[in-house]
Amino acid sequence: MKIKLNNTEIEAADGKSLLDICRENGINVPTLCYHASMTPEARCRVCLVEMDGKLVTSCSTKPREGAKVVTNSERVMKARRLNMELMVPQPSCRREDDYEVCQTYKEVGMGNARFSQIKDYKPDLGAAVIRDNNKCINCGRCVKVCAEIQGVYAIDFASRAHNEHVTPYWENHLADVACIRCGQCILNCPVGAISERSHIEEVVSALDDKDRHVVVQIAPSIRAALGELFGMPAGTLVTGKTVAALRRCGFAKVFDVDLGADMTIMEEASELLRRVEKKGVLPMITTCCPGWILMMEFFYHDLIENMSTCKSPHEMLGMLIKTYYAKKAGINPKKITVVSIMPCTAKKFESTRPEMESGVDYVLTTRELGRLIKMKKIDFAALPDEEFDPALGISTGAGVIFGATGGVMEAALRTAHFLATGKELEKIDITEIRGMKGIKEGKIVLNGKEIRFACAHGGANARKLMEQKDKYHFIEIMACPGGCIGGGGQPIYRDPEVLRKRTEAIYSADRSSKLRRSHENPVVKQLYKEMLGAPLSEKAEELLHTHYVKRDRF
């Protein structure tokens, strides 16, 4: 159909929203409550445009033939600005803030701050995720994402009118309800009313303490995303610079969680083969995702036996740091502080689990690392590439793909094939479990037996897959859409392309790795030879395995 857009006649497809039409025609319309993969609610009223003389929300309005649309009149600008003023009565965007609302101010212009702050809520503080309703603009994205994309539904709006606020049931703290700490709410909050509980202070304290030997380990996903916090395009692989930055922050050693991932593969592939052989509980479900573990503990009590007992990679490496490395380096493990840099907010909770003997002292998210680097006035972009400390820093491509949905599965199968048949898996790139499809599946033959596997990412997809679980032998669940590269601790993104670019970086790191199979890792071999014996040995069980509990939903 033909419509008039800012005095130009254009062709627009039927059934498209004004927002989409504007964007297709290069017109930027600010949005806040809009989410590309969910039905528009038209709450914030920032995306206003004029259509046939009426102000309408472009996200929810579809024009008819001959509509006259204006996006840049003074009337439109003033209306958007006043809604911003009403949402954020006293704006306080600092230069370093990367919240979406700060960008919206640049597009819409600041209003006159004529209203005083009248919200007076107590902040909700927890171990992983914290909320401050005083900053909330009631956009509802956190509620929708938690409900529809994550399938958790830990929060919703309560009360009415100006008392409408986001809360878990009965005004509980988020930490006291069935929240999986995935942090997707954080990623979707345009104003930072929800954020991670920061541990920067504790880490800086430890770094300043001359008595402590502070080591850091970084997850696969960090290297694919940290650059975004320093102006680099999404998908820039910054492994070397990250290692260099961490050294300049004062960490004594920089280790690679990918090595921990390789260890996880050794243990988990062995565990899978044992269950298949000895007719153990199947399907076996991966457990490197603490968000998924919480989901199981809250909502799927009957799956406890299905869960792999393997700890997650950074927890495995944390234990190895405080035993193997401490011994090798001749340092008292009690003097070692282990910091994990994670794309994940749930891992802040994971390291505090009483069921888990954890070697990790603090978890910092990718975003916190960015803040720490800026605090230390390090010019990230100008850094040279440096290598991990070799003691626990050598890893394989199998380890790095843990960052992407399907990566754990692929890495495990590369090793499972070798352990089961003694021969290397020829098709090393198991492409059918790569990519953004919500649920992916495939099959492989090991010693004449067909092993069926599936992966899901995002809580709602995990729930869907659980309904079909008995079709499979092996299931990988990542609570965050995209897998860990889309984790709650990662740089905030709006365009789903960013996830794809980060994923590409992960797989390119795999492709360019000298070693691509966990069982080829010389440090892995050394660890088993010198300390653990073999996968699933008593020592391995003691250090690298854990168990789970049933939690009440409410």
């Binding site: 409900a147 539904y153 919703d156 309560a158 809360t167 049931y169 009965w170 409410f554």
Partner: protein, 157 residues
């Protein structure tokens, strides 16, 4: 949000279920909230949000007599505020509170549709209209007398 009606234990509208629970127990407690969430397969955060949306659902124990006095223009124009203040004094509780003796809960609500008999209020859902200070005084007296008789009757048993 368009929800599908699935095979729940109780296919009645949630509003009616919530009313019934409140009628039976006097209010909707956290315990009952959990029960409804399980029986109706509703996420508890959402269920809480529904309960807290509606003025007439209470999540705390209420007085034996819940008074909802109208605060909308027709009643205000007919002396409503004076009666509000009188009530607050007489029952010993402010708007939104329950009296210490557990007898009355007092709320100011929006138009209850008795504008031609203003000022008006609901007492446990029953309209009491054409109110004056005198009428209120009498009403409260009657309620208190009834209560005294009942509790005497209880004692005698």
């Amino acid at each position: 949000m368009m929800a599908k009606e699935n095979g729940k234990k109780d296919a009645r509208p949630l509003m009616n279920i919530l009313h019934e629970v409140q009628e039976k127990h006097g209010y909707i407690s956290e315990h009952m909230l959990k029960q409804i969430a399980v029986e109706q397969d509703i996420p508890i955060a959402r269920l809480y949000g529904v309960v807290k949306f509606y003025t007439m659902f209470h999540t705390e124990p209420q007085g034996k007599y819940v008074i909802e006095i109208c605060g909308s223009p027709s009643c205000v124009l007919n002396n409503g505020v004076k009666l509000e203040k009188f009530l607050e004094k007489e029952i010993g509780a402010g708007i939104g509170e329950t009296s210490k003796d557990g007898m009355f809960s007092l709320y100011k609500v929006s138009c209850i549709g008795c504008c031609d008999e203003a000022p008006a209020m609901l007492v446990n859902g029953e309209p009491r209209t054409k109110l004056t200070v005198e009428r209120l005084r009498l009403l409260l007296k009657k309620i208190r007398e009834n209560e005294a008789k009942q509790s005497d009757g209880e004692k005698k048993k």
